[in-house]
Amino acid sequence: MLKKITTAASVIALCALTACGSGSGGGTDTGSSGDTITMGFAQVGAESGWRTANTKSIQDEAKAAGIDLKFSDAQQKQENQIKAIRSYIQQKVKVIAFSPVVETGWDTVLLEAKRANIPVILTDRAIDSDDTSLYKTFLGSDFVEEGRKAGDWMVANASGPTNVVELQGTTGAAPAIDRKKGFEEKIAAKPEIKVVASQTGDFTRSGGKQVMEAFLKSQPKIDVVYAHNDDMGLGAIEAIKAAGKVPGKDIKIITVDAVKDGMAALANGEINFIVECNPLLGKQLMELAKKVVKGEEVPARVVTVEGTFTQEQAKAALPTRQY
């Protein structure tokens, strides 16, 4: 038996080691002239439609702002990002921006950038470091605020006792923790709104569907589903339909993200409310970059411009939706 366990353990360890071990990133070197601003951007990867839209926005807006962009894709690996940042330092770019894959372990490489007098801007994700002088500003979504917006809608649209089931994101992920927190903060104002069950659906459609199926059997009364992203909400829609109920009417659905499939479901009336998590931060990033390079003061935290969508707004916005 011990042998079996050790075999299984080594199998798991091996998988963990190799699961994300494909390919390698690295900066592209195109050279730059003296006057234009050169920006080195180290992206996380291309793991979702959201991320792809994020990348495209940054590339397009850099072109529009006349900034020479050096772009690298880290394929979800920190060492690739560190390599890319080092190469940007060597190429003496004017400003470095990146979305950190993980929260910790950036102090050394960011200190190198600081010594080389290259300002750093964080996008989309924060880092965990005591030394806040390592970066100029952090541009990204406020996940707690997203949760609050969802909670606000819930409070405004609840009549009488309301049972909410929550589909959480990946356990321990910042968006999952914060979106839960913000939502709970707001619904605390109305005691008749209760979260009766909360499980993780891992941000995936299959996960959302499976958890929702189980909720539909174990919970006698469900009025609202609050899903931490569109995909889990889309999975929940399938489960609700299979139970012979009408999503959006019998059971109301609130999600976060506003990707295209989610917006389509919202326009169809299957989702009731979506809080936007905006990947199109390219324009704000370029503006910040210009200020930082000129040496102007920028706030330490810049929140991306984000809205919310009701069903009518989704119908209007859908045709021009980029992602």
Binding site: L14, A19, G49, T200, R205, A214, K217, S218, L234
Partner: protein
């Protein structure tokens, strides 16, 4: 053999009992839109992909091999089919897409078989190649996006019902087919003999290499069908997450079912029980409301308990009612 199946059976019963106590509505069953609807039906429907993959895995493990690539193969199958279907709602397109995907999966199985039987690479390493590369291939096919389809024919595979979920009917059909071809003919014995000693079997006139190729192709095709179910269940192909870590669930199902990882002996009924235990466990976590933070620990405790009661030493201790000696 009977005795071996007793413990997994008891574990499954205990899990179901736990559900009955905590949420009595778990066993409620009703007819909804002409099909059965209830917690147990969900277990069967969502357990079907794991069961299929575990079936393929059982035969591979019986030859003393292992196939880590099944999750990636499942992702490829879903990706290829969804990309082929695109925006079409046509029945024919769905079937052509699925056929292309399954043929491709068979080819991937041939590749695994070639590495293991042809080149003699250790199975764990040989299939690791495809486990890593396969997901990349699936990402390439879908260009990293989640492909959503709207095709009723395709939806039937994973989410459809003929009174019972179609997915479990497919999985049980494959189980029956495997049971017939390996237990009613000599094939099962030949597979086991290869697992005990491939060289000796070859000398005894068994075509060891052909059998190894066959089981890897079979495992890949099973994974392909499972991938179709997973993707069809949500009408979307998610190259990143479809079938992620399902190889671990499948191996676990096989082991819980009493098949030895050392090869040479396998139990199909055991695998069926193992797959059901794993899915019941997952569903139980959702129904009884285990906090997400401790879900993995809860699962691990159950799995360790199931494995321990099957261990000869633990069983001996239990049957003689001795106090367990700490090591």
């Amino acid at each position: 053999m009977k005795n071996r199946l007793l413990w997994p059976l008891l574990a499954l019963a205990a899990l179901l009992l736990l559900n009955l106590v905590v949420t009595p509505s778990f066993f409620e069953m009703r007819i909804q839109d002409g099909h059965l609807y209830g917690g147990l039906v969900d277990v069967l429907k969502n357990g079907a992909p794991t069961l299929l993959i575990a079936l393929g895995m059982t035969l591979v493990i019986a030859t003393r091999g292992i196939d880590l690539s099944v999750g990636a193969v499942a992702a490829i199958a879903g990706a290829v089919t969804c990309v082929h279907i695109g925006t079409s709602g046509d029945v024919g397109t769905a079937f052509v897409g699925m056929a292309i995907a399954l043929v491709l999966c068979a080819l991937l199985g041939l590749w695994n078989g070639f590495l293991v039987a042809g080149l003699g690479i250790q199975p764990i390493i040989a299939t690791l190649v495809l486990m890593t590369a396969g997901r990349g291939v699936a990402m390439l096919v879908t260009e990293g996006q989640i492909i959503t389809v709207n095709n009723d024919a395709y939806r039937q595979v994973g989410a459809g019902f003929l009174v019972l979920p179609i997915s479990i009917l497919i999985a049980l059909a494959v189980l029956g087919l495997v049971a017939l071809t390996t237990r009613k003919t000599a094939l099962g014995m030949l597979i086991e003999s290869v697992g005990v000693n491939p060289e000796a079997s070859r000398l005894a006139g068994v075509r060891a290499k052909t059998i190894i190729w066959t089981v890897y192709v079979f495992a890949a095709v099973c994974a392909g069908i499972a991938g179709l179910m997973i993707s069809s269940n949500v009408s979307a192909a998610d190259a990143n997450n479809a079938g992620l870590w399902i190889e671990m669930d499948a191996i676990l199902a096989v082991v819980i079912g009493g098949t030895s990882l050392a090869g040479g002996r396998y139990s199909l009924t055991g695998t069926l029980l193992g797959a059901l235990i794993i899915q019941t466990l997952t569903t139980t976590v959702y129904t009884i409301g285990v906090a997400p933070e401790v879900t993995l620990v809860f699962k691990a405790v159950v799995v360790i308990a199931v494995c321990l009661v099957q261990a000869p030493k633990a069983r001996a201790a239990l049957s003689f009612r001795k106090v367990a000696v700490s090591s």
